[in-house]
């Protein structure tokens, strides 16, 4: 049996799970809580408790006690989790700062799932096949991105923007998803920054941040990357590094300092923090809008919201866009329903990811929104994939648009 090195470190969380099951079933309208686990709900009739936290914690108790082993079969269950963290939000959460139910102090489910994933990898039961491909691509010197594209392709878009410098105090970290899958959004970003006369720098030496490897549990394969990336941006004179990807943001802002055990030598920001500065300084010259306000709703990406407690700034940004009326979905902020892409679900279980996104799109329609926006390319990718598969009536009801494209469309 594996040494369970990582799981044992999480024993406090595992043994503190009381098994109340709110991580699967909680409905508490007074605080905006309407169910918890997107995977369990998407599984429908197959939704055994192994698909949500309580059942998984029971399994982990049995594993720690030596009753059952790790296995490849277990890995198949475990990776069907988007690590959205919604279970942590509901776990003994009073949702009021004046009352703290103590169990909530000990349980961070995402940390537990990642510890389990690390042990599964160390025991040779993971990564699963498609995750293995992603990691192979990331470690391949000719690629260095999880999409398996040629290394230089990520940086081709920069050629369109000669004003992007190679060094500077404000440096953009492009990541992999936008440059390889949503390059038009990067063009939109540059349209905004050009209009605002905001200079940025970027380097074509940046490496994939390693988010996907971390979420899969393959910490080892990125330990060198972290140091290289930090050193690179330090050398380039970065005082602030910003990214338009929620996954990269979480990785840079939270994982890197945690893994290194020290603060980074520069500040890390999400693009919405740059945008709100520009908006507050009236640096973005919007077109005059004559038509009626359009109802827009914002989907909180898990890597920004629950993982980083980053809820207000994107909403402030949207509220400042002329001609837009920001409305909320039934489940919002810390109660937001995940898009289903995270935690490696999109790559390994694409149908599951799409099914979860369909629910979120329907929720946006129910709220009365004509535009569903968000600030994460991974969410945009999955929501868009789901959108493409949905009925024409859905497509007539709503559009899925990145927050950056939304702003650019008003210039």
């Amino acid at each position: 049996m594996s040494q369970l090195k990582n799981l044992k470190k999480e024993w406090k969380a595992i043994m503190s799970c009381m098994g109340c099951g709110d991580c699967g079933y909680a409905i508490r309208p007074a605080v905006g809580r309407y169910l918890t686990c997107p995977v369990k709900e998407a599984m429908e009739e197959e939704g055994f408790e192994i698909y949500f936290s309580r059942g998984r914690m029971n399994v982990l108790k049995s594993i720690l006690e030596g009753q059952i082993p790790l296995s490849k079969e277990l890995a198949e269950w475990v990776y069907q989790c988007s690590e959205c963290g919604n279970c942590t939000e509901v776990c003994h959460m009073s949702q009021n700062p004046y009352i703290v139910l103590p169990t909530c102090n000990w349980i961070d489910h995402v940390k537990v799932w990642e510890a389990l994933r690390k042990d599964l990898i160390e025991a040779g039961f993971a990564p699963l096949d498609r995750h293995n491909d992603l990691i192979k691509y990331m470690n391949d010197d000719k690629k260095k991105n999880p999409y398996g594209e040629e290394r230089n392709k990520k940086f081709e878009w920069i050629k369109e923007f000669p004003e992007i410098k190679d060094k500077g105090e404000l440096m953009f970290f492009g990541g992999c998803t936008m440059p390889l899958r949503q390059v038009d959004t990067l063009r939109s970003m540059m349209k905004i920054l050009r209009a605002a006369n905001k200079e940025i720098a970027m380097t074509n030496e940046e490496l994939c941040c390693g988010s996907i490897a971390l979420r899969i549990g393959d910490e080892k394969s990125i330990s060198a990357v972290i140091k290289q990336n930090i050193e690179l941006f330090k050398e380039k004179g970065a005082k602030t590094l910003f990214t338009a990807c929620a996954g990269c943001y979480r990785t840079w802002k939270k994982d890197y300092p945690e893994l290194l055990g020290e603060e980074l030598p520069f500040e890390v920001k999400h693009i919405t923090e740059i945008l709100i500065e520009l908006l507050n300084n009236n640096q973005i010259p919007f077109k005059e809008i004559e038509q009626e306000d359009v109802k827009v709703t914002y989907h909180d990406p898990c890597h920004l919201g629950r993982h980083m407690n980053f809820y207000d700034i994107p909403r402030e940004v949207i509220s400042k866009i002329p001609g837009i009326n920001l409305i909320e979905m039934k489940r919002t902020r810390n109660n937001a329903w995940c898009c289903g892409a995270g935690g490696g679900v999109k790559s390994q279980f694409p149908d599951l990811a799409i099914k979860i996104s369909e629910e979120r799109i329907n929720e946006a329609i129910e709220a009365g929104a004509l535009i569903l926006t968000t600030s994460c390319p991974f969410c945009i990718g999955n929501l868009s994939d789901a959108y493409e598969k949905m009925d024409d009536s859905i497509k007539e009801s709503i559009k899925v648009v990145d927050i950056i494209d939304l702003i650019a469309s008003k210039l």
């Binding site: 024993w11 009381m18 309208p29 059952i68 004046y98």
Partner: protein, 508 residues
């Protein structure tokens, strides 16, 4: 794949049945981690008819079946006793079938949670009155009915959730499907009354801890949620245990239909503050017991009258009122307005990592609980040696006491008392000794409580069997219960082992 599996797979789709080792372990515990039983199979049925067929096969094959709602029993009620049997996970039977707005009766599938049902009713200005057990966000209506549940809000006014029961659809252990109450008349179109058509057989299944039938459909009386409510919290004077009981008794004697009243013992308040649970009470110089009430009314005038009556009772005992906001210490507002009623029972759980409740949920007369709690202090002293052994491993001694003491209709309170101890897996190691001490002390505590005449309502694995082991039941009562079980479940298929009807042998 076993023959049994194949037979069952023909009843439910393959997606709804599993004998996978990990799925089985996922269902091997309820709220208490001290009790475990790994089932052979887990099935998620979608209808009474499927359950009926499953039970018929279970009888043919002599395999036990354990119905499971929300899985929130603290006493191992919805996992097998021993590693055996089929767990029936009824949570996918969670539809609302009918709301009779005229007669205020809602009919639901039994796997629906109290949270989901009340969310639905809210849109009609209705609620279930008693909001089920303290775990009502997850626990099912069927589970609540099977345990006479209280504690999730509203039980001072409405009593146990079974008070609201109008009719049931139940699958008997041998597979027959029956309807109770008004629906025993085959011509009755909609449930409207429980009492009539002969004896009240609904009651046979109320609080049965899942031994007499599987509830599949439940009709409940529902109530208009009053427009006005007040909720106040008070710091008690010294001797708060006795005084809180006097307050509750006076409320009853004056006939005030208080919606909820709860008392937190001095220990809960002081420990809670020490461990950062109650930032709203951190300013307190005297960390004494705390009591709160919630009262509902249909008009401002009615509310003002009731509030005055309640305030007089409490303030006359020299209690001090907190300000109106939660930040002022008014936990009653959180309980009622922010639906904290489904979380409040979780208060001392997890005080430190791996701290597990080892307790009893029982109903006792209001005037009895101070004496019981004093005796529990004595019980704790008597077991110091064992408690010390746990301290030596974990660095902390188990804590004896009670969670919030909750007023229940009929001059009762719900007492969730016992001790919080550690799970046997501590800091990277399984300590069998902790488990042994926990079980030994648990049984000793429960025996002590039984001798106080308490009424356990959620009995599960450990309490149902202990009552028999220690000869707690009146002999004739137990024999009748056994005779009924033998008649309707001759092979003891359903929840085999509970109440030790066939002795301690769970293999039958």
């Amino acid at each position: 794949m076993s023959e049994l599996y194949q037979k069952l797979e023909r009843i439910v789709s393959e997606k709804r049945i599993s004998d996978n080792i990990y799925v089985r372990h996922a269902y091997s515990r309820n709220v208490s981690s001290n009790l475990q039983g790994v089932p052979d199979l887990v099935i998620r049925p979608s209808s009474a008819e499927e359950i009926s067929e499953i039970l018929k096969i279970a009888n043919e094959e002599n395999v036990s079946v354990i119905p499971r709602g929300g899985g929130d029993c603290e006493f191992g009620g919805s996992k097998p006793i021993g590693d055996t049997g089929i767990v029936l996970d009824t949570k996918s039977m969670n539809n609302i079938l009918n709301l009779d707005e005229e007669n205020l009766i809602v009919t639901v599938e039994a796997g629906i949670s109290w949270g989901k049902l009340n969310e639905y009713l809210y849109h009609y200005g209705l609620y279930t009155g008693c909001l089920g057990p303290g775990s009502g966000m997850t626990s099912s209506i069927g589970g609540g009915i099977s345990h006479h549940s209280v504690g999730g809000g509203g039980c001072a006014k409405y009593g146990a959730c079974t008070n609201q029961l109008v009719s049931l659809e139940v699958v008997l252990p041998t597979g027959e499907i029956i309807n109770t109450g008004s629906q025993a008349n085959k011509h009755s179109k909609h449930p409207f009354n429980r009492f009539g058509n002969g004896p009240d057989l609904s009651s046979l299944f109320c609080g049965d801890n899942g031994i007499f039938g599987v509830k599949t459909k439940v009709s409940l009386q529902v109530f208009p949620k009053p427009e006005f409510a007040s909720y106040k919290t008070f710091l008690m004077p010294r001797k708060s245990l006795e005084i809180s009981a006097q307050i509750m008794n006076e409320i009853r004697q004056k006939g005030i239909d208080v919606y909820d009243t709860m008392y937190f013992m001095d220990l809960v308040v002081s420990l809670g503050i020490e461990y950062g649970m109650f930032p709203m009470w951190e300013h307190l110089k005297r960390k004494r017991g705390i009591i709160f009430y919630t009262i509902e009314a249909n008009s401002e005038v009615e509310l003002a009258v009731k509030v005055k009556q309640l305030d007089n009772i409490i303030l006359n005992k020299k209690a001090e009122e907190f300000g109106p906001e939660i930040s002022d210490g008014n936990i009653a507002k959180w309980h009622y307005v922010e639906q904290g009623h489904w979380l409040i029972a979780h208060n001392l759980w997890g005080l430190i990592p791996g701290f597990d409740p080892v307790d009893a949920e029982c109903k006792v007369p209001i005037n009895a609980y101070p004496k019981i709690m004093r005796d529990l202090d004595q019980w704790d002293l008597e077991h110091s040696e064992d408690m010390q052994k746990i301290l030596e491993i974990t660095g902390m001694r188990p804590v004896t006491g009670s969670g919030p003491i909750i007023m229940v209709k009929n001059n009762n309170v719900e007492l969730t008392c016992g001790f919080s101890s550690f799970t046997s897996y501590y800091n990277g190691e399984k300590h069998t000794i902790i488990e042994e001490i926990n079980i030994k002390l648990w049984k000793s505590l429960l025996e002590r409580l039984v001798k106080h005449g308490v009424m356990f309502y959620m009995q599960g694995d450990i309490l149902s069997r202990l009552m028999v082991d220690i000869d707690g039941y009146q002999k004739e009562y137990y024999e009748l219960m056994k005779a009924i079980k033998k008649t309707i479940d001759p092979k003891q298929i359903l929840s085999r082992g509970k109440y030790n009807f066939w002795g301690n042998n769970t293999d039958n």
